[in-house]
Each structure stands twice: as structure tokens, then as C-alpha cells.
């Protein structure tokens, strides 16, 4: 947990984790903005630990087979399909 301002390397690292390519100008712009925004978030340091008393309950439905999209509808928006499947890039 560092209090150092954000570096361009950190922005690139996070972009890598989030799977978003960034142009060099974007890295520069985001680095500057993130310093300012994260500094504003520092106000959260003053927040006391607070117990949340949400009245939550689990809602479960019966695990029954229901109507769903047919294969053609499910594939309709995909840019690449093959033999009734989505087609994506290779994984490794």
C-alpha cells in the first residue's frame, strides 16, 4: 500500500490486467488524471469502520429447465461463428 502518486508503469499494468490497449498519449493523460482522482478518494481514509446491517436474504429459484434463446438467436450478434459455435481467437 503505497502513498506514492501513480506512475505511467502502474497505469500500463492496470490496463494490462483490464485487457485494454492504451496509446502512449492515453497513458500520459490517465496518469495525470489518476493522481488527481485517487487523491480525492483519499478522503475515505477518514471513514470509521461501520457495520452494515443490510436486511438481505438469499433468493433462490428452483433449478428447472426453462425456455431460453435458441442457438441462432444466441449467435446472431457474434462477428465470427462456425458450425453453431462462437469463434474466438486462440487461447495460447
Amino acid at each position: 500500500m503505497s502513498d506514492q502518486p501513480v506512475s505511467p508503469e502502474e497505469v500500463r499494468h492496470v490496463a494490462d490486467l483490464a485487457r485494454i490497449d492504451l496509446a502512449d498519449e492515453e497513458v500520459e493523460e490517465f496518469t495525470e488524471q489518476f493522481v488527481e482522482i485517487l487523491e480525492a478518494f483519499e478522503t475515505l481514509d477518514e471513514v470509521p469502520e461501520t457495520e452494515s446491517e443490510a436486511d438481505l436474504e438469499n433468493v433462490l429459484r428452483a433449478d428447472e429447465v426453462r425456455e431460453s434463446l435458441d442457438q441462432e438467436e444466441a449467435l446472431r450478434n457474434a462477428p465470427h461463428t462456425e458450425d453453431g459455435y462462437f469463434k474466438g481467437p486462440r487461447v495460447s
Binding site: 483490464a18 485494454i20 478518494f41 452494515s52 450478434n77
Partner: protein, 423 residues
């Protein structure tokens, strides 16, 4: 497209009978409509055509409404001005050269310009109330769990609700009556929304109403806005309401808590946009990570990238406790503060927005400044409460909205109070 209000103009007739027969409704473009393109204001979904209707859209059709089109919005609901849309900005029909507010700016503008009788938007941190205030119309953010989010393209699930716009409080409440209620396809909906009559509460009767006014929400506001606000409160007093000031000490942390939580949820929700099941066409040359990253660079605009990255940062190892856990503490504290304040008042009142509508382009280069403009609306989403924005008058010819906040499922209280502000 007139004034950038609609992304897609396409009429869908509802059933011939029902409470909304003969009425036209504009629907924000992050709410799924079967067979009609739903873009979320993003290049990522520019050609996406949902194969099913959102629950609220099914209910609109069953109520006899005619849907006239899908309205412009900040990309994925991220923005306060409707300028981050990949399809260009929306004009404010009530204030030339100014933004309509966001992120449901197209929906508010559709009602303000008379392009639709009613409209649906979504409110994650103020995105119905902000444009309602800026465009001089009525907008309601329902209690969390009142309206089904099935078919809404998610941005921040724990905060967002679909909400109605109308020219009058009664009309907005009528639309809320149609879309609210439990839905087996959204397990976060609650039974309190069944069999409602919110429109019937718009009777203008505020005799004996006790209003709490959070001092913190007036402090940073523009002078003209505050003046218009007090004139409206005076008017309510003359109709038999009374008010007292309240303090919500937690509220100064609301904006930071809101953005940390919303961005964190966004970073997770928007991971589904990988270009495989939907999204821009791409070649399959690289490996999965490379292709995924390239599609997302191309498909997402700046504000969306900014929030995904900040959300990823806030959730990453070493920072989770500092940002996300603390934001959840702040959220619990804010909930408790509101509960206390509402134990001694029927409703709370504040200006909806601390300023009149911004000029176009004013806030685009300074995201932090734009985030701070949401100070009066985001606390309500963190506390899961209902709120309404009703036109209160103007300052220098620019619309000013008054916000009422009620207890959970207290929609009738805020509808009644707001109806008394109208002429």
C-alpha cells in the same frame, strides 16, 4: 435525429388497451428492446440487436405504450452531460448551448422537447434526476429493488435503478406504476412494488408534511440555485408543510465512495465485452489476450476506459482495503445517517444539482470536476432510497430542480411532496 435525442428512431406499437394506451415513451439505449438496436451509446455495441425485451419494456408494451425510439446517453451510463456518447452529444431543449445533463440526457430531452410523452432512463448516481433538473422535467429514482433490472445492460448493479421521466409528477408516477413490481428474472426485486398507486399520491396535499433539509447539500451550491430552492420551500410552507435543518456528517465522503464502488462494479461488469459474442468485427490473428485488448481499445471511449482502469486499480492487491473496503464502510455510514434523518422527517429536500446546466464541453477535460457535480444525487443511490427531481423555477433563465428523498419504498411521500411544488 433532432438535437441528438435519439440514437435509433423506430416505433413499436404496444397492445391497444392498457393504462398507457395512446401514450408515447422514449427508452434509454441501455435497456434491451427485442429486434431494435441497443447501443449503450458505445461503439462497442453499435450493431447489437437484442434477441429479447427487458422486463420494463414488456410492461410498457402490455400497458399499451408506443415506444418511439432509443435515446442518447453517456456511454454505458458513465457521465453527467450526455457528451461521452459515441454518437455525439444531445442538445438541451430547455437551455440552448448547455448540456442536458446525464447520463439519461436523451430521455430527459425527449420529454422536454415533446418528442415523447414519457421516457425511461437509468439512475446509478443521479442519471435520471440530473438531466430532469437540467431539462426542466420530472424524474424519479426508485427505491433499489422496486423496478426490475432484467434486460438492463449493467454498469453498477448495486446502485442502479430504471426510472421514469414525465412533464408532470403525476405522469412520471403513472409510468412508475407500470414498470415497478417484482420480477422472477431479477432476484433483487421486492414485493413492495406490486399493486402500487403512485400516481394517486400526486394530490398536492402537503399539509402537516415535515421536511428535513441537509445543510451539507446547500453549502457548495450556486447562489441562484439556493435562492430558487428556498423560494420553493417557502411556497410549501405556505401550503402547510414545515421544515427543519438536518446534518448528514457522512455525506462528504459520498462522492468518493460512490465512484470507487461504481468503478469497481463497472470493471467487473464490462469484462463481458470481449468481442466474441457481440461487438466490433476483428481479425482472429493474435492470441486471446491481444485480440481482447485491441477490441476494447477500439470499442470503448475515454470515460469508460478511465472507469474500468480506476475500478481495476481499486480492486487490485494492496489497494482493496484502502479504497473498496473503505467505500463500503462509507456506504453503511451514509445509510445510517439517512435513516436517522428520516426518523424525524417525512422527506428530505435539497437542490437536485448544485449548479445550473453546464455549458457544452465545459467538463469534458476535467473528469474530477464532473464527478464532484454529483454530490447531491449519489448519496441517495448509496443509501438505496427513492428520490424525485421536480422543476422548482429558474436562475437567469436556466432550469433548477428540487430533489425530495424518501424512506425506502416511500415513493408516495416524495410524489406527494413534489406535486405540491408544481403550479
Amino acid at each position: 435525429m433532432s438535437g441528438g435525442i435519439f440514437i435509433t428512431e423506430e416505433r413499436t406499437e404496444g397492445d391497444s388497451e392498457g393504462p398507457l394506451a395512446g401514450r408515447t415513451v422514449a427508452v434509454k439505449d441501455n435497456i434491451s428492446t427485442e429486434g431494435v438496436r441497443t447501443t449503450c451509446g458505445s461503439a462497442m455495441l453499435a450493431d447489437y440487436v437484442p434477441p429479447y425485451d427487458a422486463t420494463v419494456v414488456e410492461r410498457l408494451k402490455a400497458a399499451g405504450a408506443t415506444i418511439v425510439g432509443k435515446t442518447n446517453m453517456d456511454e454505458f451510463g458513465m457521465g453527467s452531460t450526455t457528451e461521452t456518447s459515441a454518437f455525439g452529444p444531445t442538445e438541451n431543449p430547455a437551455a440552448e448551448g448547455r448540456v442536458p445533463g446525464g447520463s439519461s440526457g436523451g430521455s430527459a430531452a425527449a420529454v422536454a422537447a415533446g418528442e415523447a410523452d414519457l421516457a425511461l432512463g437509468t439512475d446509478t448516481g443521479g442519471s435520471v434526476r440530473n438531466p430532469a433538473a437540467f431539462c426542466g422535467v420530472v424524474g424519479i429514482k426508485p427505491t433499489y429493488g422496486l423496478v426490475s433490472r432484467y434486460g438492463l445492460v449493467a454498469y453498477a448493479n448495486s446502485l442502479e435503478q430504471i426510472g421514469p421521466f414525465g412533464s408532470t409528477v403525476e405522469e412520471a408516477a403513472e409510468l412508475l406504476d407500470v414498470v415497478s413490481g417484482p420480477d422472477e428474472r431479477d432476484a433483487t426485486t421486492r414485493d413492495e412494488g406490486a399493486e402500487t398507486d403512485y400516481a394517486g399520491a400526486a394530490d398536492g396535499d402537503v399539509d402537516g408534511l415535515e421536511i428535513g433539509i441537509p445543510t451539507e447539500l446547500l453549502e457548495g451550491a450556486d447562489e441562484g440555485v439556493v435562492e430558487t430552492f428556498w423560494e420553493a420551500i417557502d411556497e410549501l410552507e405556505s401550503q402547510g408543510a414545515s421544515y427543519h435543518e438536518v446534518s448528514l456528517p457522512s455525506i462528504e465522503h459520498a462522492v468518493a465512495a460512490y465512484y470507487v464502488i461504481a468503478m469497481s462494479e463497472a470493471s467487473s461488469n464490462l469484462a463481458r465485452f470481449d468481442g466474441v459474442r457481440y461487438g466490433p468485427d476483428h481479425d482472429l490473428e493474435g492470441d486471446w489476450n491481444e485480440t481482447f485488448a485491441a477490441v476494447r481499445e477500439e470499442g470503448f471511449g475515454d470515460e469508460v476506459k478511465r472507469r474500468i482502469l480506476l475500478g481495476t486499480y481499486a480492486l487490485s492487491a494492496g489497494y482493496h482495503e484502502k479504497y473498496y473496503a473503505k467505500a463500503q464502510d462509507a456506504r453503511a455510514w451514509i445509510e445510517r445517517d439517512f435513516e436517522d434523518a428520516l426518523s424525524e422527517a417525512d422527506v428530505l429536500a435539497s437542490p437536485t444539482m448544485p449548479t445550473p446546466p453546464f455549458e457544452r464541453g465545459e467538463s469534458l477535460d476535467d473528469p474530477l470536476q464532473m464527478y464532484l457535480a454529483d454530490a447531491n444525487t449519489v448519496p441517495i443511490n448509496l443509501a438505496n432510497l427513492p428520490a424525485i427531481s421536480v422543476p422548482a423555477g429558474d436562475t437567469d433563465g436556466l432550469p433548477v430542480g428540487l430533489q425530495f428523498v424518501g424512506p425506502a419504498f416511500g415513493e408516495r411521500e416524495i410524489v406527494r411532496a413534489a406535486s405540491a411544488v408544481e403550479d
